[in-house]
Structure formats: C-alpha cells, structure tokens
C-alpha cells in the first residue's frame, strides 16, 4: 500500500462519516437508534468522529423491550454520561400498556416484533424525519438490497421494489410531509470489519461480548441465556457454561455462543474461523425464509 492509500477500515470509516454528516445536513430532526449492541456502538463512535470537537448534533434513541441483558443498560448509561450524548428511551411495555400491542404467548414469545410499533410511535411523537440504524448488508439477504438512504412512506413501510437509485456519493433525502428515512451508515461493513475496527480503535464494549460464566439452556440447537421472563420447555435444563454474545439483542431471541474468548484478538480469530452467520443465533430470523424482509416492510430496524 503506498502512502496515499488507506486501509479498508479507514475507507469504510470515511464513507460512514460522510453518510452521517449528510444526514445531519439534509434532515431537520434526525435520530440515531442505539441498542447497546456492537454495531450501534461503532455507529455512535463514527458519529462522534464526524462532528468532533462539537457534540453529536442529534439524540440517540433506545427502544427498550424490557427484556434486555442488564449489562447492556448499564453500558448505555455509562457511555452517555462519558460522552455527554442524550439518549431517549422508549419502552415496549408502554406500547403494551396503551393497548397498541398484545404480548405474544408461549415459550417462544418475544417482544422483538412489537419493537416496530414502539419505534414507529416514537418517530411520530418526536417528529423525527430520519432514523439511523446499525444494519449491515452482509447480515441477511433482504438487507443486501437496502440503500444507505432508505425511504419510508407515511406508514413507515419499506417498498423494496421501488427504491431510489443511489449513485456515487450522492444521497437523496427528499421526502413529503409525514414520510421519513431510515439511514444505514455502516451498510458496507461486515461482521469482521466491525470487530477489526473495534480492535483498531480500542472501543469499549459491554462485558457480554467477552467470555463469562452464565446459566444457559439449549433450544433448537441454540444456546439461550436464563432470564426471569424466559420459560423452559420440557426437557430443557439449565447448565453453567463459559459463553459470550456474538450479537446483543433481546434476551428472548439472542443466542449466546460457547466461547472462552476474553479479548478482541481472540474474538477476531473466532469470527474468522466460524462457519455460521451471526444471525444464525437469532430466533427472530428463523421464523420463515423471508422473516427479515417481512419485518422490514412493516418498519422494523
């Protein structure tokens, strides 16, 4: 590489910073969605870089299902305090209490789908016209067709067959009243890029990503964490294991993996050697062949 070239992570970084600045410039009231997972942590880090030494000129928003790992919430609150950023928290429980959603029942019950209702309500209440998310195109096949700037109609829906062409560095955020955009600044990053970048930039992560002892049980070949709101099926039993999270979502639908990786280099090795996509541990995607596309059409992240 000659002296006028940057590595792949710096190029991805430059692209993401460009997209984030474009959002701040083109929209009146943008928001950045924050889940406490590694992708949103990286996205927020990029936002801080984009505007430094000024503060990030938009708030973050966390859609809290109430089924989080407590470590995630603790990490979130610490990060906000350290960086002086503002994080709005919206609760799925409120959506349920208002009668806008009915809790799923059964052992596989999850609040994952209900987040969409809470999210769309929040966007409308707060009059956000663009919501940035940490979605990546390598995660899932419907996401492979997502634009950086993804237009949503007044019902928050995605029309994958009628997306705006996106060329060069030119992003079109024009819309009518009531419509909004979802923007995905780290579209072009892979799971490996995210981990390498975290390593390169020495970004602090929730402890869940590193190995720890936890009570877990196996369901459909996936290890799940014990939690107060998780019901065990017949035949499932709790075991104490060395595990870590490969992705962090809701406890009800995020599998953990057996691992003794306790530092970033070990995790990168593990990601390099692994043969299953990170969403392979996500029960929310396994519901059907087009589970992700269907949820995205409705307005999911």
């Amino acid at each position: 590489m000659d002296k006028y070239q940057i590595n792949h992570l710096r190029e991805l970084e430059a692209e993401s910073i460009f997209v984030i600045r474009e959002v701040a410039a083109q929209f009146e009231n943008p928001v950045m969605l924050f889940s406490g997972g590694k992708d949103s942590i990286v996205m927020f880090h990029l936002a801080r870089k984009a505007f430094w030494p000024a503060k990030v000129p938009f708030p973050l928003m966390h859609i809290d299902t109430g089924h989080n790992f407590p470590e995630t919430i603790e990490y979130r609150d610490n990060l906000m305090e350290k960086t002086g950023a503002r994080c709005i928290v919206k609760y799925v429980q409120d959506t349920i209490d208002q009668g806008k959603a009915v809790e799923e029942t059964g052992v596989n019950a999850s609040r994952n789908k209900m987040q969409t209702i809470t999210l769309l309500d929040a966007l409308e209440q707060e009059k956000f016209d663009a919501a940035m998310g940490g979605g990546r195109r390598d995660e899932e096949k419907a996401r492979a067709k997502e634009r950086f700037f993804s237009h949503r109609d007044e019902f928050g829906q995605w029309d994958p067959k009628n997306q705006r062409p996106e060329l060069w560095n030119l992003f079109n955020g024009k819309k009518n009243m009531g419509e909004h955009f979802r923007v995905f600044p780290i579209s072009n990053w892979t799971e490996m890029d995210v981990w390498q970048y975290i390593y390169m930039e020495e970004i602090e992560l929730p402890s869940l990503y590193f190995t720890h002892k936890r009570e877990v049980f196996q369901r459909d070949g996936v290890w799940m964490a014990k939690a107060p709101f998780m019901q065990l099926k017949e035949g499932e039993k709790l075991e104490l294991r060395d595990v870590r999270c490969r992705t962090i979502g809701d406890v009800t639908c995020t599998g953990v993996s057996l691992s003794t990786a306790n530092n970033l280099q070990d995790i990168i090795q593990e990601v390099a050697a692994t043969r299953v996509t990170e969403r392979g541990g996500r029960a929310d995607d396994k519901r059907s062949e087009s589970a992700m596309e269907d949820r995205k059409r409705e307005g999911y992240f």
């Binding site: 492979a144 705006r164 030119l170 043969r275 299953v276």
Partner: protein, 425 residues
C-alpha cells in the same frame, strides 16, 4: 499509522460490479468466488438448500444466494442491485451484483458508479452479443478504471484457444471505439472453477493470471484522481464550547487530490484564498490528508463558507470549471419519461440547485453504439446527451477527469424520486 494498522489490518478495499445474465453463469461465478473464499456460511448454505428444494431444483442453486427478495425467489429473477462481501488476506471486496433482466441499464449504472472494476461475462458458446457491447459501453461511460472480460463456460467449448482469441479480438473491436483504460481477458469455467481461484489444468495455452489473482493484485491506487484537490464542504463544525470557543471547521470528504497543513486553498464560489491551519480527524491532528478521507479543515482566515461551497487548490493540475451551462450524458431511471424543457432539482457533490433541460442533442443506441439525433425521447434506461442550464454556478470537472466532481443526479420535484444520473462531458 499505528502498529495495528500496519499488521493484518493492512488490506485494501476494492469495489467491483458484475455484468451478465443468469445464463452467462454470473450467479455461479459469484457463488464460486464467495464459496472459495469461504464467505458463505453454513446456515446460509442450509437456507439455500432448503430454498432449492422448495423451488423444485435438484442441485443447490447458488443464484438463490444473491436473490434476496421474496418476489425474486418466486419469479427466479433478480430485481435490484445486491451487495456482497468477501475478503482474502490481501483485499476486502464489495460486489455490486446487478441483475441482467429488467431495468438493466439503470442497475448497471448504479453498480458501476462506485466500482474500481467491472467483470463482464461472455458465454464462450455464444461469443460477443449485443449485450456484451452494452455492458462494455456502460463500463466506459461510467469510467470504471478496470474491465475484466471473463470468457465463461470454456468447458463447454472443449477449452479451445481459438474460441477465446476470437472473442478477445471481437471485444477489442468494440473497446477500441470507446474510452476504456485497462481491459483484461480471462478464460474461465465458473462451474468447474477453471481460472477463477485456481489455475486451470486444461488451458495450458493461457499464460495470464486467474480472475482472483487479478482482483487481488491489480493496481487501484491510481483509480482516484490524485492531482486535483477538491473538498466539497458538507457540514460546518462549530462547537461554541468552553474548550473550543473559536473552532470553525469545514467537514467533508476529500473527493480527489491531497491536502497539507499550510497549503493555500481557494474557496468557491467566493474566490477568497486562505491557508490550511489544521486538518482534524477526531482527536488526531493530521499533517496531510487525501482522497477518500473524511476530515475537518480549519483555515487561517475567517471566511464565510457554508455547505455546497468547495475548497480547491490552485497549485498543480486543473482548476474546476465554474458555469451554468453544462453538457451531460444522462441516463434516465424513471418510469415517467424525461421532459425536454422540464425543471428538476440537481445534486452534485454537496451542492443542490434547480436546473432546466434546455435541449437534447441525441439518444445513444447502446446496442449499436450509434448516436440517434432524431429520437430525442428519454424513457427509463435510455441514455441521452443533453444541455442543462442551472440556476446558479456549478463547480465541476469533466467526468473523465474526476468521477466525484463530474457526476450528478436529477430529482423530480413532485415525486422526490431520483430520476436520472448524469456524467458531465
């Protein structure tokens, strides 16, 4: 660069696009690249196997890997550009996989706009067809720096050298009339894997590199214009905080060229000049920066600068052209046809303004590569040469010199849709 970056993180990023229809074996080729570089995971493979059985196929259909939307799987066609990722120890690759059926031009233009390289597939049995001409033309129109012609299905023509040489000479006939910089030819069989990642044992007569070797090694450092410094101002950064009471930085992505602290820069459109005080990227203070970095620049003098303005250097190379009348090759993207005399919103770098389509010079017949001065109607997927008049001055370079400052899109003012992509002549 820190120690970490010079270690195993020292990889370049290469973006390429693939052109060709399913029948040319495009999906098989992509599947092969992903598979051989271990970018297909077990659960993805299982999902493909499940879907292959459901759609009645017998073999595992690698095309299902690239067809992400429900409608696409049902109809067995690809509708939209899909992005794929894989990496080897040398490079990270982004594939813009463009469909070969409907809306072909629109999708290929989109995928080509950011590509370093285009892979154009030719079926060895059929030789050069109209679509090969179309693909090569679009690659040249979009100024993709490297074109790789893959003559596929060599296994079905008994690996004969003369078949390959004939196709090579036919493509050379086409490319000699176009402005293409670097064209390579590789005889392959995507199905069997000949010359994709591993060298073929059946084509001793071919002494060139495999496709993967080309992708990993071709020189892309000069793909970006390194001479003419251009920084379109994207966002003005003013913390107005206790620690930074007077900080005033211009955030943007360097589109071309390099910038050093102390350089004299000129601000367009005002024409004022000043010296670079600092180049910041977060807490790092840089001595120099270059395309495609995103940085924040502070100047020595207080000048009124806002989004849409451009910082340029006068020293070496070209200066941008400033003007309101521009000639553009326009690719029309929308179902609503172009209206001659119509007004549209124009976006170029970080600037936005209105424009009018003053006249249409000709329509390009992308199958024969002839100009048609009588058919001046632009429907979806048509390419026309037009004259635009903008409401205020545009700072630009010709697209051939600078892909980032010579490109624009048009937006329909009633539907807000992106209706056309333009390359400034």
């Amino acid at each position: 660069m820190s120690g970490k970056e010079s270690g195993y993180l020292d990889m370049e990023l290469l973006r390429f696009t693939t052109a060709g229809s399913v029948d040319d074996g495009k999906s098989t080729l992509i599947g092969r690249l992903l598979f051989d570089s271990k970018a297909i995971f077990e659960d993805q493979m299982e999902a493909i196997e499940r879907a292959s059985v459901r759609s009645g196929g017998e073999d595992v259909n690698l095309a299902l890997l690239t067809d992400g939307l429900k409608a696409e799987r049902e109809q067995g066609i690809t509708i939209d550009v899909a992005y794929r990722y894989f990496a080897t120890p040398k490079r990270k690759f982004i594939i813009a996989d463009t469909p070969g059926h409907i809306q072909y031009t629109r999708n290929m233009v989109t995928g080509a706009s950011t590509a370093n390289a285009a892979i154009i597939l030719v079926d060895a049995r059929h030789g050069v067809l109209e679509q090969t001409r179309r693909h090569t033309y679009i690659a040249s129109l979009l100024q993709i720096p490297h074109i790789i012609i893959c003559v596929n299905k060599m296994d079905l023509v008994e690996y004969k050298q003369d078949v390959f040489e004939q196709i090579k000479s036919d493509v050379e006939d086409i490319s000699s009339k176009l402005s293409v910089k670097d064209v390579r030819y590789v005889p392959i069989s995507a199905l069997v894997g000949d010359n994709v990642v591993d060298r073929s044992k059946k084509m001793d007569w071919y002494e060139g590199p495999t496709l993967m070797y080309l992708l990993e090694n071709m020189h892309i450092g000069s793909d970006i214009n390194r001479d003419d410094f251009r920084l379109p101002v994207q966002y003005v950064i003013r913390p107005q905080s206790k620690d930074y009471p007077d900080y005033r930085g211009y955030g943007g992505r360097i589109m071309s060229g390099t910038l050093n602290v102390g350089d004299t820069v000129k601000v367009l459109p005002s024409g004022f000049t000043s010296k670079v005080k600092t180049i910041d990227l977060f807490t790092d203070s840089l001595k120099k920066a270059f395309a495609p970095q995103s940085v924040t620049v502070q100047l020595e003098d207080d000048i009124d600068i806002s989004r849409g303005d451009m910082l340029v250097k006068e020293t070496n190379g070209h200066e941008p052209i400033v003007g309101q009348d521009i000639d553009v090759m326009l690719c029309w993207f929308n179902e609503r046809k172009m209206i001659a005399g119509g007004k549209y919103t124009l976006r170029q770098t970080t600037a936005e303004m209105r424009c009018m389509i003053k006249s249409v010079d000709y329509k390009m017949n992308i199958n024969t590569l002839e100009h048609d001065p009588d058919d001046l109607e632009a429907n979806m997927n048509d390419i026309v040469r037009v004259k635009l008049r903008t409401t205020k001055p545009l700072f630009y370079d010709s697209y051939n010199l600078n892909r980032n400052t010579g490109s624009l899109v048009l937006i329909d003012e009633t539907t807000n849709e992106t209706v056309a992509a333009g390359m400034i002549v």
